[in-house]
């Protein structure tokens, strides 16, 4: 974990309201693992106050110095500030943070819902480079919001689902899951909580190793404020420090909680 000031190399809107920002940050990039994240400061003063957690989208080890790419949705004032950063601007990064994906197989199935593609590209790149077989189910509301296929690493097996049927199969990414789980030893997912809840009830993935990347409001990103604690079957866990990647079966969903 390092705090560095990095220069923005490029920052562009690759999809509606989704930006891809590249920056040389060798201190962070060289140590990072797929699934980890960085906390990015999004103001020069105190407003917005808190850093924003952003998944490490891609690491370019062959670039010199090593580059870090962040893919983020513009959802509020902080990410709007970041979206306006231009080439040559400096950004304040803290990372790499958290625990990433734990890969123990050679046949990986990745499931991305919308912006959830962000950490999965780094995972796919790493695993393809090691000779693993990687299948990606990519879901988005419409064709316009699908992560561009030409930015995906070569060699990946791609399946597409759009909610309006404008590309690939009509429906959700999880609708395709049952057909492909048989091919994979491990499933890795990143997307909205609703997607994970659907997955946790799907029989096709029962008993399989499924890792999901969780999101939470974070204060610090490195385990001191305890703002991002969630209830798991292993007790209270911090999304920032114990996660953001968790075993799907360990997460206790809101609907499951008894009592009040």
């Amino acid at each position: 974990m390092k705090q560095v000031l990095a220069t923005v190399l490029s920052n562009s809107e690759v999809l509606p309201d989704i930006h891809l920002l590249c920056s040389p940050a060798p201190e962070i990039a060289s140590e990072s693992m797929p699934g980890q994240f960085v906390m990015v400061r999004t103001s020069e003063d105190h407003d917005p106050l808190l850093r924003r957690p952003l998944a490490i989208h891609r690491v370019s080890p062959l670039a010199s110095p090593i580059q870090l790419a962040l893919l983020f949705s513009v959802v509020g004032r902080g990410t709007k500030w970041l979206a306006q950063c231009k080439e040559g601007d400096e950004i304040d990064l803290l990372g790499p943070l958290g625990h990433g994906f734990r890969v123990q197989s050679r046949h990986l199935l990745l499931v991305a819902g919308g912006i959830g593609i962000a950490p999965l590209v780094a995972l796919a790149e790493n695993e393809l480079a090691r000779g693993a077989h990687v299948t990606l189910i990519l879901g988005a509301p419409t064709q316009d919001q699908l992560y561009p296929a030409h930015l995906l690493p070569p060699g990946i097996e791609l399946l597409v689902a759009t909610e309006d049927g404008s590309d690939g199969q009509k429906g959700m990414a999880t609708d395709l899951l049952a057909n492909f789980t048989g091919k994979a030893d491990q499933v890795f997912a990143c997307g909205p909580v609703a997607m994970y809840e659907v997955m946790s009830s799907q029989t096709s993935i029962k008993g399989r190793s499924v890792q999901v990347s969780m999101e939470a409001r974070m204060g610090c990103g490195f385990g001191v404020c305890l703002g991002c604690a969630i209830e798991t079957r292993q007790g209270m866990k911090l999304v920032c420090q114990d996660g953001p990647v968790f075993e799907l079966e360990d997460i206790i969903w809101r609907g499951e909680k008894g009592g009040d």
Binding site: M1, K2, Q3, R41, H46, D47, P48, L49, L50, R51, D92, L94, A216, R217, M218, G219, C220, F222, G223, V224, C225, L226, G227, C228, A229, I230, E231, G235, M236
Partner: protein, 308 residues
Amino acid sequence: MNLSVELAPYNKRGLQLKNPVMTASGTAGYGMEYAELVDIERLGAIVSKAITLKPRCGNPQIRLAETASGLLNSIGLQNVGVDTLIKEKAPIWSTWGVPVIVNIAGESIAEYGELAHRLEGVAGVSGIEINVSCPNVAMGGMEFGKSPEIAAAVTEAVKSRTTLPVMVKLTPNVTDITEIARAVVEAGADAISLINTLTGMIIDVSTRKPLLGSVSGGLSGPAIKPIALYMVYQVSQAVDVPIIGCGGIASADDALEFIMAGATAIQMGTATMVNPNAPLEVVEGLERFMDSEGINDIAELVGVARLP
């Protein structure tokens, strides 16, 4: 140039810090995370996350929300419990060249005394900060700090069970904070830290419900600095023990304002979460200020803003 400060001049053991900059409880965990990022031995002291007799899970999500230049939190004193702290955290602290002050929170007056008793003689613990100001728990916390009688009783219960220097952290959510300050000093407090967070809430207009899982939370960050500063100004003139100022400090200038208002030392919390290096930047900024202003001892600045 002398930046060192004494926080417990009336206590036999004393509590001397190499400089007046401390981390605030609840924003530095048990110090280990910062130790990985910055040279914590350059800090005056570390105040650990509030500890209770039994481990606590804390409050349900959502626990945090950003406000204009502020942070609203309702963590609910999630912690490992005092036994684990003594067994697992204190031995690490005892190897550090920076004092660690343990913030304690009880659910009854007797529990505060028991916590102080358990921490007596534990290597690695240099002082106790009594938390009678957490706004986010149903039992204890701020309720003990709103009444001068109860705050005094808690202070007495702790003082009678420990030889460690004891500071009491006050809540700003009262009509007259000087009244509470006087009561805890009479009860034996060696120092006073203030302020804890201000109670507040946010409503999510899309769900039409309170955003935080526990409805209300405590507001911290630059947004509360003027309030904290004025309370330090008032309390430092009402009592004669050292004051530790806290609330929205993010820069050396902020720290200087608190010192000039009457604080002997300062704590930084929210700013440190955003910029882990902020406390060290403040230490350096204080040195620069003293150097350029020809000040030999930081004590010369304490309370200089008071009007005659």
